[in-house]
Amino acid sequence: MHELEMTVNGESVRASVEPRTTLADFLRDDCGLTGTHLACEHGVCGACTILVDGAAVRSCLMLAVQARGADVTTIEGLSPADGSLNVVQEAFAACHGLQCGFCTPGFVVSVTAFLDQNPSPTDDEIVEGLSGNLCRCTGYQGIVKAVRQAAQANAGNN
């Protein structure tokens, strides 16, 4: 077992983990943060996307021990504390960017990081930015629309 310490959604976490524990399993099972979803567990689907030191990564392809000292943000850490929706979440709801919702946390985290890097993307850039996340319900059109709306909303807020 390895002792580790990291920051998760602004709070310091200490734990003892087996080396093979992925960061995704650690967040879900040890931290109780089940908003990070696991589907393929080998880096294809993007449902488990989280932010590590501000960069979007797949938490199923990272070991918890590799996040020692890191600043981790999950979907739970992206919403305002009062339980309301953030700009990206609101846009997904308004544009039918989700149906069953299983892939949505990964999309919202990816889109947040994507818009951080590229605040006013073209449609081609949006499609490429979304290519690391799979959705089996929507056919993606609503998701692309949601990213467009979120970018506009962010621009209006600045």
Binding site: H2, E18, P19, R20, T22, D25, C40, E41, H42, G43, G46, T49, V52, A55, A56, V57, R58, C60, L61, M62, L63, V65, Q66, R68, S110, A113, F114, Q117, E128, G129, S131, G132
Partner: protein
Amino acid sequence: MKSAPFEYHAPSSLSDVVSLLAELGDEAKPLAGGQSLIPLLAMRLTRFEHLIDVTGVAELQGIERVNGHVRVGAAVRQSTAEHDATVAAAVPLLARALPHIGHFQIRNRGTVGGSTAHADPSSELPAVALALDAELEVAGPSGARVVGAEHFFQGTWMTALEPDEVLVAIRYPIWSRAGYGFRELARRHGDFAIAGVACAVSLGNNGNVERAAISMFGMGSTPLRGRAAEEALVGEHPGKVDVDSIAEAAVAEMEPTDDIHAPAWYRKRAGARLVTLALTEALEEAGRVDA
């Protein structure tokens, strides 16, 4: 999809990595970004008793321009190299290949050295190293050595690295009066390529092609150079090359196999078209740089 148990080591110096590898031998595997190794472990396609995380080792970090080449530490993240000004200016071929790797979430973790040492036959970075005649710095119990890219890639997932050796850095030569082109064909952006090519041309004092590289991937068990096609290019004026016949000559040297993604004939046909596009881009760029 859970890995079998292993022991995790996170040494902070290259000498510690080397002694761990010497002690543990083929029961140990260096772990960098983990974007290929972790899925292989999760699917239990491979298994190691020990993983040695090399991302905290200072000697494997950094991008610097020295003596006619750019040295990229093996554990430099792909996203770091992708946005690095030195790489963009001096090794444009690398900068153009990097965005084709997986998705941005993958490149945030994946490393330049990790992908190169993993040596997947359809991956981008081995082909870039082979195209530019890169030199690979390797460390092991018997000391450091440098391996040329043409000797490094030996087969699917097989390289010149011994089980007790680790890739330290890759030196990409800076080509002068050069132009580059990079193309790949994949079903979706981020998928492994069905076929792809990295092209480089460098012009001599008379303005004609002096040095050329056509390095293809997805066309065999390692990246492959179209050597005869390259020789046919040397001495030609960049504006007067019969690019289509060079492309045909390049794929004629390849021996792709049939698999679930594409039959061999399709890889050759698509590959020739990719060479045409990439080589045209490289020749035009070299002509502009030279003008």
